[in-house]
């Protein structure tokens, strides 16, 4: 590189010029951020300032439950088809959010699941003819 302000342009490498520059900027920014944060932590040592990722007393069941249900739903879609997978997913997640298994909650979950899935299936799948899983 004879001149700092010149970039060699060749057709075969067009696609890596910009990503390289951006990656460079990212790494520099990341290092500065890291340095700033380390300084902050070291500076505040003894004050008992510690980084908390989760809010206090966070709802483990609902948080992880949501994540797991979403993943299971995505896995189930191609295998069970849209209607079955969605009905199960909606039922399970509504029940999870209500947070108990009383008869009333099961009824609410069931109706929320049935109503939503059937409406979505009809309006999107049939009326708008959008491809459903």
């Amino acid at each position: 590189m004879s001149d700092f302000f010149t970039i060699e342009m060749s057709y075969n490498t067009y696609h890596i010029i910009f990503p390289r520059i951006i990656l460079g900027i990212l790494i520099i920014l990341g290092l500065i951020l890291l340095a700033a944060n380390i300084k902050k932590v070291v500076g505040k040592e003894g004050n008992g300032v510690s980084f908390k990722f989760f809010t206090e007393n966070y709802d483990k069941l609902k948080l992880y439950g949501t994540m797991i249900l979403l993943i299971v739903y995505a896995l189930a879609l191609p295998r069970l088809g849209f209607l079955a997978a969605s009905l199960l997913f909606m039922f399970a997640i509504t029940l999870l959010y209500i947070g108990n298994v009383k008869l009333r909650s099961i009824f609410i979950s069931l109706s929320n699941s049935l109503a939503t899935v059937l409406i979505v299936w009809y309006v999107f799948g049939n009326l708008f003819s959008i491809t459903l899983p």
Partner: protein
């Protein structure tokens, strides 16, 4: 052009439907106008452009306006742009003036909507015709400017904002570079799925809707505190248009502030609302009353956040740069229809341009009529339990992501991946908005960058020597960065002092 030559009856109907749904979604705390549009975006796949415009504009106007309902009644802004509505709206509710507050807000909203619409109508074509002559260098610098502004406005650490924006650009580069058809940055094994990179829509709704959803479930979906709303029966506390007497200057000033804040790329609705509220306080005859339940404050906040809508559409329709996260999603809607937004948009699509303007007119009027006369019923929406709403949102997100490219399972995984990203990023101090704008503008930025270098034979100094406009843009970029640094210091000082 006569209105009904452009708008089909279906598009008017969809617009009304959009306003209604928008108001409902905006009224639910935790649901934003952005999310409302994101969820309905896949539905536009089956519609043609003019009909989708009707629906989306309706959702936008309805969603922003609906945000005032929980702000006034529960002290929770339904959408970030109604932040300052809580300052005076909630005290009014506590005084038994809830209905009056809402009606003041509704009236202010429609005025804000129309002021910004007229600015959009006259300003966007002028800016666009000016922008047609921009060179690749200018365009690249505009993208850089958009990114610096976003980073500087976004709350929290300035560095974090810049980092987030650049990261968004980086992620957007994954896939094929159209110029020479080479694939880069694709992890081995995903060559097929990631040829075109991540699709915009699953990334968008993942970041906003799923991320928010995970956040809410972490907090255990606590229901909004139930409170009896006393919608005034008392005659003295009822709404009269006379309240607006003497508020003319305030209303128009706030609308204009909202519009111009909206024009700055990447600046969100909360900034519009805060700026006009503080101006209203500066100019008020009795500033000490503001924040204790004065209609004046309601007017400032609500006319500004509806003014924002027209403003945010200006850079989108004239430069192709989204004004906020909501208009960023509109870019997705245009792309779905194969229409590129940019300086040529208005001249090449005159029908769509007038369609947008007419849809805004209809949406604003519809919003006013619906909300003004049935606000009592909309007020009940704030109590719909989250355990009913959130599962529905998630289902819509999955269906939407799957459908967007006509049935690609990988898009659902993209949705979940970016949902996780949208949940984790805010926790580690990386703001989502800059990331999103970076993601949207990244490929454009690269194209203009390479085009500029092709023209100069690889000489980087071209970015400084291209012409007066390039130098002007550099000045603006530097000013925005310097302002951000100063502002950041000031906020930090104020924080450590308190």
């Amino acid at each position: 052009m006569p209105m009904f030559e452009v708008l089909t009856p279906l598009s008017v109907l969809l617009c009304l439907f959009g306003v209604l749904i928008g108001i409902i979604m905006g009224s639910i705390p935790g649901m934003t106008a952005t999310m409302a549009i994101a969820i309905f975006l896949p539905a536009t796949y089956a519609l043609d452009m003019i009909n989708s415009i009707g629906l989306l504009i309706g959702l936008y106007v309805g969603g922003i306006s609906g945000g005032m309902v929980p702000a006034v009644l529960l002290n929770i802004p339904g959408t970030p742009s109604s932040l300052c509505t809580t300052f005076d709206g909630y005290p009014m509710t506590q005084n038994g003036e809830g209905e009056k507050a809402l009606k003041v807000g509704i009236t202010a909203s429609i005025i804000g909507g129309f002021v910004s619409l007229s600015i959009l109508f006259f300003f966007a074509p002028v800016l666009a015709s000016f922008a047609i002559d921009f060179s690749a260098v200018d365009k690249f610098l505009i993208v850089v400017f958009a990114l610096t502004v976003i980073a500087s406005i976004s709350k929290g650490s300035l560095l974090g904002g810049v980092f987030s924006g650049v990261l968004g650009v980086f992620i957007s580069l994954i896939g094929r570079f159209p110029d020479n058809n080479q694939i880069r940055l694709v992890p081995p094994g995903f060559e097929q799925e990631l040829v075109y990179g991540f699709s915009l829509l699953p990334v968008l709704i993942g970041l906003f809707a799923i991320g928010q959803n995970l956040q809410e479930s972490e907090e255990g979906l606590v229901a909004a505190s139930h409170q009896k709303i006393d919608l005034a029966k008392n005659k003295a506390k009822q709404f009269k248009f006379r309240i607006f007497k003497g508020q003319f200057v305030n209303t128009v000033r706030s609308s204009i502030i909202g519009t111009f804040v909206g024009m700055l790329p990447g600046v969100g609705g909360s900034a519009a609302s805060i700026t006009s509220y503080s101006q209203a306080k500066n100019f008020s005859k009795n500033p000490e009353k503001l924040g204790k339940g004065e209609p004046e404050g309601m007017i400032a906040s609500e006319s500004a956040n509806n003014g924002l809508i027209g403003g945010a559409l200006v850079p989108l329709l004239s430069l192709g740069i989204p004004g906020d996260s909501t208009t960023a999603i509109l870019v997705g809607a245009f792309l779905l229809q194969g229409i590129e937004v940019g300086p040529l948009f208005i001249t090449t699509n005159p029908d769509l341009w007038s369609g947008i303007v007419f849809a805004l007119v209809i949406a604003n009027i519809a919003m006013f009529i619906m909300m003004f006369f049935s606000i009592k019923y909309f007020a009940k929406i704030v109590y719909i339990p989250k355990h009913i709403i959130f599962p529905i949102i998630m289902l819509m997100c999955v269906v939407g992501s799957y459908a967007i490219n006509n049935g690609v399972m990988f898009d659902v995984w993209t949705l979940l991946l970016f949902g996780l990203v949208g949940y984790i990023f805010p926790k580690v101090g990386i703001q989502i908005a800059p990331f999103l704008i970076g993601f949207i503008l990244g490929t454009q930025g690269e194209k203009y960058f390479i085009d500029s270098l092709k023209g100069s034979g690889g000489d980087l100094t071209v970015f400084f020597t291209d012409g007066p406009l390039a130098i002007g843009l550099w000045v603006v970029i530097i000013v925005s960065v310097v302002y951000a640094v100063i502002d950041n210091r000031r906020t930090k000082k104020a924080e450590s002092a308190s």
